[in-house]
């Protein structure tokens, strides 16, 4: 899932200094799960902003609303109607960057500000700890590395590691929190009885399916632009 961290409150406050009626929009999926942008956080941020502006003697109307996903038109529509219909002049979204864009595309002259910094695709290592697991590079190579991604989990994104900074199985960049992924790959391949495969050099990757190839789209023909729906 997508992991995000909340922006410092003063930064968010600055975004909306000049606005009067602001909606804090939570998202009910990834950012809820990583405890940064669900309904509870949206309410808390809205309350915090109200207090901050009230104390600065510039009280503003600040409300909150949370939808299931900010990356689907159907879920976002009521939010858009609310913003336009009730005269909000700014939106702070706690969704990942997808939500920011998705709302901004649809709110025309009403500005949309990010309330979180979208950080990575990650997993819960233990309650309260998320770690990056995938970079969304568009062409997965983990079949070569025992299911462990050297792009997302190696500080240098080395395809043929480890580097000289691997010490006792830890990464020199952050030894306390980060294992050397090439140590993990080595151990895993050994477990799988495929250690010999590591003698093969992994060739340079085609980065075009990643960001290098321009803006990415995916089409699923089986439901894309159904004719009977557009008649």
């Amino acid at each position: 899932m997508i992991v995000a961290d909340q922006k410092p409150l003063h930064e968010v406050k600055e975004f909306v200094e000049t606005h009067q009626k602001i909606l804090v929009a939570g998202c009910g999926t990834c950012v809820t799960v990583c405890l940064s942008g669900g309904a509870a956080e949206a309410r808390l941020l809205a309350s915090g902003l109200r207090i901050a502006f009230q104390r600065a003697h510039h009280p503003k109307t600040i409300e909150d609303d949370t939808v299931l996903r900010q990356c689907d038109e159907e879920f976002v529509l009521p939010l858009l109607e609310k913003v336009k219909g009730e005269g909000f002049d700014a939106v702070i979204t706690l969704a990942c960057g997808v939500g920011v864009n998705f709302l901004a595309d649809r709110l025309e002259a009403i500005p949309v500000f990010p309330g979180v910094n979208t950080t990575f695709y990650g997993a819960v290592m233990e309650p309260g700890l998320w770690a990056e697991m995938c970079s969304g590079c568009g062409e997965c190579i983990t079949h070569l590395t025992g299911g462990i991604c050297p792009i997302a989990r190696c500080s240098k994104r080395l395809f043929n590691g480890p580097c000289g900074g691997s010490e006792k199985g830890r990464c020199e960049v952050d030894p306390l929190n980060t294992p050397c992924v090439w140590q993990l790959i080595y151990d895993r391949m050994k477990e799988l009885g495929r250690l010999h495969e590591l003698r093969n050099i992994i060739p340079a990757k085609n980065w075009r399916p990643a960001l290098d190839g321009g803006v990415r789209h995916t089409v699923r023909e089986r439901i894309y632009r159904l004719e009977y729906k557009n008649r």
Partner: protein, 695 residues
């Protein structure tokens, strides 16, 4: 014509309420006591039962037998909580009385004023009928007034309930014996319906040799005479025959009349005795000598007076099918020299008040139908022990309620009502894996006076709970099924936070979160941590805190509140009295600058709950948790402290001082330490002036 109403179905009740014959909202009154709202507790009691003072003393409390707390340590002492409530709401109870003017234009007669009859009278008066109770004695109450010894049920307690019932407008004709002073026929002529609630007022005697000797006393007569100040002369040695509650009452009564050796002989073994175990134990403490597994063979007499009893050994009381079918070893006998023998082996109705033309009887019993409570005559109903056979007071009360329903239906439709079969589902036992994680808290038992002392007279032997005891006992209630529930499955992201913080392993996530009501112990931690704000608590939900605070502040003027204004979230479980539990007056809030919010465990406060008070003008929020290590809920202290730290950081970003949100712990108890804590809170937030800094 008879109508059958459909089977009543209820959603699962807490085990305590399900076990109570009148389904008292037991959980509700325990909660009300813990919140210091004794008046609400009394209202809940009276909703189900017009005899709370009686039941607070003598109820056999089936609720406690089923209390789910027993899986953790021991049941909540619900009877003593009930007694506490009635003892502490006497003025309120008198003031709430109201007379109901009969508005239905119909008149109902109740024959007999025991718990069943008076309950029926109470309900029918509330339903708008002119209700008249006929009682042969000079005092109302039936067995409660005459057979239950005063050391268990003092008259003033009984009168509290009876006065309440009479205050509704129930007319009582005491000293009026049906069949002597008025006939059933005459009553029927002047009333639209009649309820026969005459109880089982006669003792059954044993047809054994010598049973007519002088000094053989029927148990009920004996108790009746003692209760009314006419104790029979007794010798040094008295024997009671029987193993039920009446036998134990008779034995303990004899002891109080100065009898030095009181024996109680019964067929049953100690475990089989039908008397309540606690009654037997108390009797033994008082020196009653219990002879188990002995049956009477013959009463020995000298010059027509009782001289002793020959007993034979009882080898078995019940047969394989569980039926009463005693077997004896005739060869094994013993003889006891005694001066009097009290027979308490059973009771029957005194039906001499009716004749066969008036009401059909069969083998000395009133013919009646337990499904409709009707008798052979239309419009004549029966309830209580005359209908059900021997039972407890609370069962008689339940039956009295049913009789009122049957009569009401009859008077409105002319038809007999087949009482619906109640299908009460309950929560079942608390799963052991949950119970094993709950914090044990020792049960508080009633203090009984010293056995040596208490047998000297008929003074009540049990001391009521004081306020601290009652509050401590009330908070032992697990608040079954009052915990967390998902507000809507749509809100849930399946993030697992609830499952990860639940200290009892109750919350699970399978697509969406689930907190089974029968397992949840209502700590509220999942609700506080839910990132979707999607978990509601049935008791003291925190999702609406701002609204709650607004309501609490509604009558105050912001400019009149002393600054710095502190909103103090306090753990209500730390109180030992009502002082801080009762709602604050406007003046108190304004002059003290402190708004108390009593929370059943402050661990349930979310980050938002800690921040929102500042929107309402608070200068400071103080969280006052329980004493260290005292929290009912494992993990709650740690989670709360982390939440407070998170909110402090958040508030600091807004530009508030660190001291704007303070965490404190109660020392000793609320009353001893909170005033000092509030003072310290104010000092920390306004160190410069202590008063006007935030104006």
């Amino acid at each position: 014509m008879t109508v059958r109403s459909s089977t009543q179905q209820h959603k699962p009740l807490p085990n305590c309420s399900a076990a109570c014959p009148v389904h008292t909202d037991t959980r509700g009154y325990a909660e009300a006591v813990s919140e210091g709202d004794y008046e609400r507790a009394l209202e809940l009691l009276l909703q189900a039962n017009p005899f709370p003072s009686v039941c607070g003393r003598i109820c056999h409390h089936p609720c406690e037998k089923e209390c789910r707390r027993k899986e953790v340590d021991a049941p909540v002492n619900l009877r003593m909580l009930k007694r506490f409530v009635v003892e502490n709401t006497k003025d309120y109870r008198r003031e709430r009385r109201r007379r109901i003017e009969p508005f239905r234009g119909k008149k109902v007669a109740i024959i007999g004023s025991g718990p069943a009859g008076l309950t029926a009278a109470h309900d029918l008066a509330l339903l708008g009928y002119h209700t008249v109770v006929f009682e042969q004695d000079s005092r109302l109450g039936g067995m409660l007034a005459h057979a239950i010894p005063r050391y268990r049920l003092p008259l003033h307690a009984l009168n509290e309930d009876i006065d309440d019932i009479l205050a509704l407008g129930v007319e009582a004709k005491t000293g009026c014996r049906v069949g002597r002073d008025i006939s059933l026929e005459e009553i029927r002529e002047s009333h639209d319906a009649v309820v026969v609630a005459i109880g089982l007022s006669e003792s059954v005697t044993l047809p054994i040799p010598g049973s007519t000797s002088e000094g053989v006393l029927p148990g009920i007569t004996f108790l009746w005479d003692v209760a009314n100040g006419h104790p029979p002369p007794l010798g040094e040695r008295v024997l009671i025959i029987g193993g039920g509650n009446v036998a134990v009452d008779a034995a303990r009564t004899a002891r109080r009349l100065g009898v030095s050796r009181v024996f109680l002989a019964c067929l049953e073994s100690r475990e089989e005795m039908p008397a309540w175990q606690w009654e037997i134990q108390e009797a033994q403490e008082e020196g009653i000598e219990i002879l188990n597994s002995w049956g009477p063979k013959a009463i020995l007499s000298r010059k027509g007076k009782v001289a002793g009893l020959e007993l034979k050994h009882c080898t078995r009381v019940f047969d394989e099918k569980g039926r009463f079918n005693p077997q004896y070893d005739e060869a094994r006998t013993m003889t006891l020299d005694v001066d009097q023998i009290v027979m308490t082996i059973g009771q029957r109705a005194d039906l001499s008040c009716f004749n066969e033309r008036e009401l059909a009887m069969e083998r000395g019993r009133l013919m009646c139908d337990p499904h409709t409570l009707s008798t052979s005559e239309p419009g004549v109903f029966a309830c209580g022990e005359v209908m059900t056979g021997p039972g407890s007071a609370i069962q008689a009360i339940a039956n009295g309620h049913q009789a009122a329903r049957a009569v009401h239906h009859y008077l409105q439709t002319g038809e007999r009502l087949v009482l619906p079969r109640e299908e009460i589902s309950h929560l079942g036992p608390l799963p052991q894996r949950v119970a094993s994680l709950a914090r044990p808290m020792p049960r508080k038992d009633a203090a009984l006076s010293d056995p040596q002392e208490r047998t000297r007279n008929f003074s009540e032997i049990e001391s009521p709970f004081n306020e601290q005891q009652a509050l401590e006992e009330a908070r032992r209630c697990l608040a079954c099924a009052m915990g967390a529930q998902l507000e809507s499955s749509q809100a849930c992201a399946g993030c697992l936070t609830c499952a990860r913080v639940c200290p009892f392993g109750v919350a699970t996530v399978e697509r969406t979160a689930a907190m089974p009501a029968e397992e949840c112990l209502a700590c509220g931690l999942c609700a506080a941590e839910c990132p979707a704000a999607g978990v509601a608590l049935k008791r003291f939900g925190t999702n609406q805190m701002k609204k709650t605070l607004r309501e609490m502040l509604a009558s105050t003027h912001a400019s009149h509140i002393l600054r710095p204004f502190v909103i103090a979230y306090c753990c209500l479980y730390e109180t030992t009295g009502r002082q801080y539990l009762q709602p604050q007056s406007r003046e108190e809030i304004e002059s003290s600058g402190i708004l108390r919010v009593m929370v059943p465990c402050v661990g349930r406060l979310s980050s938002l709950d800690l921040v929102e008070p500042f929107e309402l003008g608070a200068d400071c929020v103080a969280v006052i948790a329980c004493k260290e290590g005292a929290c009912l809920y494992p993990g709650s202290e740690e989670l709360l402290q982390r939440r407070v730290a998170h909110a402090q950081k958040f508030l600091e970003e807004i530009g508030l001082k660190w001291a704007s949100l303070q965490y404190h712990r109660t020392q000793e108890n609320a009353e001893a330490s909170w005033p000092a804590i509030w003072k310290e809170v104010r000092r920390q937030i306004a160190p410069e002036s202590g008063k006007e800094a935030f104006k």
